[in-house]
């Protein structure tokens, strides 16, 4: 038993217990502590004031669910060694360590082409050096090179504890009860069959509920139109900064780690730039927005002011593309109202698309293990809700305007 033992209060699960030295050291590491300064849900707090929880809190929660999952599976007779247990817990703790400022909202925009999972892996490798190779097995599982697939599937799969925690936690902090998934029952229904993660037959309805709750969270929260408006405004701010930086960066610099990535980064990640990345968090970017709200460029300062003061662009969603005439009319209105050219107004009036794919059975399947030993994808089961509307990718068109 470890001499270090820590109990953390969590409003979602009650208590989270840490009783292993390696887990303790990971949590204490500055790279992990940095996740305290990254919001889990980017700008969603502009609609759901409670949604200010952090990536650190989410990954601790996912770690807790992993502890429960390991206990449940062992109770059902699946052998999991202590080494595997610690490794899979370390893996889930670090799965999001590569997230940057405002996570998904700026992903692929701030560091174009670098996915957060790639960065998570690179950071894990650096931490592994600090920790004398103790993360070897965790990295093997994280990268799905370990032969016992279910351990990877618990970290990243259709029913991983990552999703279970973020749906549960995001639902909790937003107050959107439609997103409650019943993680405790799902965990009790998990089973390992030939080293693959499956669900017991009697868990079918729980899985249905999970998938429906996820659909609800997408439409009510993650793709909430006002949240989308804020996030595209954030994207436009970044775009404008990039454009302005062509003419000199002095008036744009704010003194933080953002400066490097906005004006000097060549897209190559190495040990040094990775360290720079680990200095970055929501604070730097939020501070920059506050500064830029006083910048002489009208587009930049106006977008920043509006975002800060929650004077968001209006947004409309529909199933079909918007007519060019409607867009043009709104653009002309905005140009007139702001007293600017239409090219400037186009930072405030524009169209785009949003989509959500909930369950694609070509990707990865949720396997149901029947009492007689047969295995079926849930989408292939009679009376299932899953193989129908719920799994169809949905695309919506939006228009933003003043």
């Amino acid at each position: 038993m470890s001499l270090k033992r820590k109990i953390i209060n969590d409003p979602v699960y009650g208590f989270i217990t840490i009783s292993d030295d390696l887990i303790f050291d990971i949590v204490a590491h500055p790279y992990y502590q940095r996740l305290r300064r990254i919001h889990q849900m980017a700008l969603a707090y502009l609609v759901y004031p409670g949604a200010v929880h952090t990536r650190l809190h989410h990954s601790l929660g996912a770690y807790h669910l992993m502890c429960l999952a390991v206990t449940e599976l062992r109770n059902k007779g699946t052998v999991i060694s202590v080494e595997e247990e610690v490794a899979v817990k370390a893996g889930i703790l670090l799965h999001d360590v590569g997230h940057g400022p405002f996570s998904h909202a700026l992903e692929n925009k701030f560091l174009s082409g670098v996915h957060h999972e790639t960065l998570s892996l690179q950071i894990m490798q650096v931490m592994n050096e600090d920790l004398g190779g103790q993360l070897d097995l965790a990295i093997e599982i994280f990268t799905d090179k370990y032969p016992r697939k279910f351990l990877h599937q618990l970290i990243s799969g259709q029913l991983d504890v990552d999703r279970m925690d973020y749906l549960t936690r995001d639902s909790f902090f937003t107050g959107v009860s439609e997103g409650v998934i019943g993680y405790d029952r799902i965990l009790k229904m998990l089973v390992v069959h030939e080293d693959e993660l499956m669900v017991e037959e009697k868990g079918i309805y729980s899985i249905e509920k999970f998938l429906v709750a996820r659909r609800q969270m997408y439409w009510q929260v993650y793709l909430h139109k006002t949240v989308m408006s804020a996030e595209v405004m954030l994207g436009n701010i970044l775009k404008r900064v990039r454009e302005l930086s062509a003419n000199g960066i002095e008036a744009l610099k704010t003194g933080g780690a953002t400066d490097f990535f906005l004006y000097n980064f060549d897209g190559k990640m190495n040990r040094e730039t990775l360290n720079q990345f680990c200095q970055l968090d929501d604070i730097d970017f939020s501070f920059a927005i506050k500064r830029w709200s006083h910048h002489p460029d009208f587009v930049l300062s106006e977008l920043c002011k509006r975002l800060l003061n929650r004077q968001l662009l209006k947004i409309k969603l529909q199933a079909e593309p918007f007519e060019a005439a409607e867009v043009q009319e709104k653009l002309a209105d905005a140009a007139k109202q702001l007293g600017v050219d239409e090219s400037i107004a186009s930072y405030f009036v524009f169209t785009g698309t949003a989509n959500n794919t909930m369950y694609q059975s070509q990707d990865e399947r949720i396997n149901i293990l029947f009492k007689d030993g047969t295995v079926k994808d849930i989408a292939a089961i009679d009376n299932s809700l899953i193989h129908q509307t719920i799994s169809a990718p949905i695309k919506k068109f939006y228009i933003c305007s003043l």
Copy 2:
């Protein structure tokens, strides 16, 4: 009826409804929106990862409880005009608008001698000009000049909705269930007698529970020793910045509104400095800490690094003052460990006191209205828990060290 109607999801109360134009305009005001960027519980999230909720969320919650209180009192026959209703709701929404960065943790340190309630009032007065005098009655009630005392008592008194919300909300987000107060039952027990706020006889046990829960929150959360350690470290950072600024401020400046208040403020609040104050929030100060963690001064950078990475000073609490010898020994240890003089080490090893006064009947009383019309202070009632230990001020001594 207002044309503007807004429903806000709140994980604590479910839904908060805004249906009045003035309330809508207050919430939309940039000075109010700024409260999104101030943590309700300063640095407590270093111990309770869920405690990242904001002053905006708290004041919306207090507003919600005020709505319930008004409805309950009217149901019991207390006449409250629509003007009074809107005014008391506006008052509670704005009661905390004067909080600065890290609220209580930096209060009296950052702007020495300026209490947040004074600032709240000054900001309300400025907003009142913007709103064409619509806040006149709210200000009258807030400053306790309105003859119907109970309206002020609902905003600020032993049983105000401010306390009810922050205890409920802080308990919710920390996950410390000991702090749950049963706000709904307390609200049902409130009654107005001769324009004073009182509690019905059968509400005595609910009040007991409220006061005990508050005691629990003080010792488990607000005065949690690790939270205290973080907050005194923050205080020392500020102290060191002030000392260093005597020798020039260039290396200290970070570009935000903190610069003005740290290096140029003469202590006088006027319309202009108030506007500067309303640009300030946790972001600026957090950003400054990140910057200062690279400052050449050892004390400053070390304190900032430790706070950022949650490498907090050890802290010990006891009922008696610490022996000089013990302090000296720890100081010598720290000087040795850090390779610095004891004068420098004294930023890392020091003593202080913490105290909590829960219920002081000389200050303000919780009056119980009996069925026969008599009124008694709860502390004077038989078998009450209140007049004893619970009300005694408690003082504890602490020592911080490496």
Copy 3:
């Protein structure tokens, strides 16, 4: 304002308030109090030990939701007079007053051909006499003769407060979180359009959740196979009593109101038999089962003993009818095991069907009111989950055996 005011603690909603004299008198009436002695969920407590809540508790809960619904609709501008308000509340309080012992589990078996809603109406009429005609309007609404349809729809319709309460309450007491419907959000989404009850456009996902939760409750709770086993055993007990009574009733009589309805009732309800009916509750029938467990008839005593001691028949469900051979085999086994003829064994081995129809748009529709004033059935909306699997009637075959 009424002088009588009562606050009732409810674990589901917190507090239920009664502040009207007529409502107070209805609740105090012995016919209403009798609902304390009828389980809301019949024998479901044999699977879900918490499911021991009563019809009285459910109807109080539905009354509470009605109070909320009236407030919400008024806030949206729908005029509801005080008379209509009290009538619709009285109507919902009494909607289940005609339930007999073990409600649905014995309905159509104990009093064959008499539906509980018919009895509710007859009992309301008797109470109306006691109450000097104060229930006239409530009865008009209950029987859907009042021109403002939405009042009836709130009592009995696709989105009535009856369903909202029983799904919420049954989910709460069973602990099956999959059944949580989010009643508070649904209530906020209700709207009246041309005196019909509808749902606002943005409430679509809440309705989806409601219908999915209902589907989950059917399969996990109401049609849980073990609950079904207990209920068909109860049916067989009744059937056996009826058969035995042909040969004399002395040994069957237990002294309660069951005696009259089992052996002397001619199927005609009049004032006197209605009064007899109002003496009946779960206590009488439960007591009879305890007595019959000592009856000399093997079938009767064995079924009663097994039900009392929760030694339930095994049950299997499938999509197709069971093969005659399988039934015959189990029957032969049972006959052998019990040492009885197959005709006797057939009380322990038998087949049947269960079905669930969740949402039939031919019956009654859930209308969505769009912002532009158009009205559409939810089943006709793009991307809706509703028009598919969820609405298909499902029939399952079961076999019970030893």
Copy 4:
């Protein structure tokens, strides 16, 4: 691992798991199943409509907490053998098996002088024979003859899981949030020191909360004046039946197991009478009350009718005994109103006392284990709430009347 594995939904704790054959057999035993038919809180449902939960549900809940406690203690290094684990779980499951109809409300009245714990032990002994001696160790622990005291203390002591469950559960089902104790934190604070159960130093505030919550439950629920009225009415019914039975029992008999204990029991428990006792439950007594409501004796039928229809006697509580004159006046009023002699009226107008002793340190102490290894009673700790009002026995006088 057992082949039998059962998961039970519990609204309070989520899921209760049974995975041991002996536990499974105990739960399936008719003597245990009988606890389904005994209300946990006797007649409290007349005030709190949700309080209809059963002794079976409570004992399953206490069993669940025992599972958690064993896991926690083992995690802290206390060795508990599998035999001890199963025994202590069996012991807690059966601790209440000796409760009779309406448990505490009729205890010492129905079977005078026989305490339910004595009966629990006798029934455990009978079941032990059925189970081939598998309960030997459970009985040893239950009777505190096993040397490792903490196992007994977990079943019966100041901080046993019995209390933790009933406070939690009763609070849950009544909806009285003041009674929530935070069982999960208390369990995490338990520790075994020299085979005695203690609480860690940092658990002091949790214990305070536990004791305060208990005090709240006593005054708001267990000794709620309306509940007391119903329970003394029940006592008077029993008293009247006893008096009437002196003149013949035919008109009183109802056919159930109550007949034996009311009219033929000589106070001696043997194997046969114990079996009779195990036929008894709330159903028999409730049925008898329904029958007696038609009995020709005015006192008996009137009391029964009033109890059935919730037309309870008025009750008043005060700190001093009632004046003889007041009692006499009410008695005369009642005699007049009912048209009976004062001797008859005295079944409806009478006085008595109620009391509550919360924490008596002479009885049994809650020991706090400090980090330095010292042990102190919580009542002896500085600033503790416990040694004061909270521990004083309180006695109140009541008067019942029409």
